[in-house]
């Protein structure tokens, strides 16, 4: 099966100059934990995830301790998030792997598993975002 048959044709996305608080608002309203980032032409340029935003808001020594249980409360994280709120998505987005409309399911599943991705954007010949494939889309197809 090809990506075009598997994908959700949902183009919910942000642009590089979208502010972080707007991206968080969109994630909340649309119920998405990952948003593709597209340019003025609608071409995929990156991705921004809930996970990346949380990590950006954590204290730098988190990488060493791997826990926030030593914090007395969430005030420090909240302060950091408020600083981030009016910065653009481009400051926090990362480069993203994508698949083409005609890529096969095996290739897509391999990428999702190997790269530990929750979802992967689908692009057309010109690089326009045309949909996304989530892990659950493949799982539910396979279980039918």
């Amino acid at each position: 099966m090809k990506a075009r048959e598997l994908m959700r044709r949902d183009l919910t996305s942000v642009e590089p100059d979208t502010l972080i608080h707007e991206a968080i608002y969109l994630m909340e309203q649309a119920g998405l934990s990952t948003l593709p980032v597209v340019d003025e032409e609608g071409k995929l340029v990156g991705i921004i995830t809930e996970h990346d935003l949380i990590h950006a808001a954590l204290p730098e020594y988190f990488e060493m301790l791997h826990s926030i249980s030593f914090l007395p409360n969430l005030n420090q994280i909240q302060k950091r998030l408020k600083e981030m709120a009016f910065k653009p998505v481009s400051d926090y987005m990362k480069e993203v792997l994508s698949v083409h409309l005609d890529d096969e399911d095996l290739h897509i599943a391999d990428l999702l598993i190997r790269k530990r991705l929750k979802q992967i954007p689908v692009v057309d010949d010109e690089g326009h975002l045309v949909g996304v494939i989530r892990r659950i889309d493949i799982l539910s197809r396979l279980v039918r």
Binding site: T12, A30, E41, G42, G131
Partner: protein, 322 residues
């Protein structure tokens, strides 16, 4: 690609009942109506056009505003039907429109339409940004349906101007002032919604003569085609080349669900235009799609063979040369 704009999407809820009591026998009574069947689906004029087109295999993108739990249901339904969705999310809740169809009187439904959420200015700006981006990839844009609170009635005029500047053919499927303001930009195809008021612009459209006069006015503004319903199974097409009557001899009792029939018509016209048909033939197919939709319980008839068969019932007569 065909882009559709539905600024006020809805979750359409249909209830089929055996009997619809319209008055109480005793004042202390309450009315309890048990539905024989109920169905929900994503709705709104533009969305219906997109659903029709996606089912016919035409690439289509639906745009507008989604909100809340109802918005999630609308989105899920659209994605399942193969429509590409590119909506702006806002706070609140999308509207729900209720249609009650009584057995034997399905041609006379009872409808309750909600107003829809207020659209904040910031969300309108986001929508415009997305709209301009999508215009670059569109062949046609369909501006359709009611305007939600917070958006000016001149919105379709502005969106039509942007589309024309981008070289995209504009179809307006709406009513009252939003329609007429857009007509002044000279869109490609106009299907006025005259369900609430038999008026197009400030002109009444109760008789054939009045319909033709309103259509001619639209053509004067630069419209390539204006299709106005004369009665439930009859439309008049006014173009710069001439005027045609489309008529189908179908008894009212054959209709099972009229909701969305007009949208199937617009979808049918666009489907055939993208296949290379001329306008007259495309409108004939559109009318057949509308009839086929009205004759089945689901909101839209999505079976091409049924629509093709229905074309035999549609007669086209040239009414007047220009």
């Amino acid at each position: 690609m065909i882009l559709t704009v539905t600024l006020n999407p809805t979750l359409d809820k249909f209830y089929w009942v055996d009997h619809l009591p319209l008055s109480l026998e005793r004042v202390e009574e309450e009315i309890l109506i048990r539905a024989r069947k109920s169905v929900s689906s994503a709705g709104g004029k533009g969305i219906n056009v997109s659903v029709f087109l996606a089912c016919m295999g035409v690439e289509t993108v639906a745009m507008g505003f989604l909100a809340g739990h109802t918005g999630q249901i609308i989105l899920r339904d659209l994605l399942e039907r193969g429509v590409t969705a590119n909506f702006v999310w806002i706070e609140g809740e999308n509207r729900t429109n209720i249609t009650i169809l009584e057995k034997g009187k399905e041609y006379h439904p009872v409808k309750i339409h909600e107003e829809g959420p207020r659209i904040p200015t910031h969300a309108q700006e986001l929508f415009l940004k997305k709209y301009r981006r999508m215009l670059k990839r569109a062949e046609y844009v369909v501006l359709a349906g009611a305007i939600p609170p917070g958006i000016p009635e001149t919105i379709y005029k502005d969106l039509a101007r942007e589309a024309k500047a981008a070289g995209v053919k504009v179809v307006v499927h709406a009513g009252r002032r939003p329609l007429w303001e857009a007509v002044k930009t000279g869109p490609f195809f106009v299907k006025p919604d005259v369900r609430e008021e038999l008026v197009v612009g400030d002109m009444p459209v109760r008789t054939e003569e009045e319909i033709v006069a309103a259509g001619k006015k639209a053509v004067e503004y630069g419209c390539q085609a204006c299709l106005i319903s004369h009665h439930i199974t009859g439309d008049i097409l006014i173009t710069p080349e001439g005027i045609w009557e489309y008529e189908a001899e179908v008894p009212l009792t054959k209709f099972k669900n009229l909701v969305g029939a007009d949208d199937a018509l617009v979808g049918g016209v666009l489907y055939r235009l993208t296949k290379g048909d001329d306008l007259l033939e495309a409108v004939k197919f559109g009318m057949a799609a509308a009839l086929a939709s009205a004759e089945v319980e689901p909101k839209l008839c999505l079976a091409p063979a049924v629509i093709e068969h229905e074309m035999r019932t549609v007669e086209v007569r040239r009414k007047e040369d220009r």
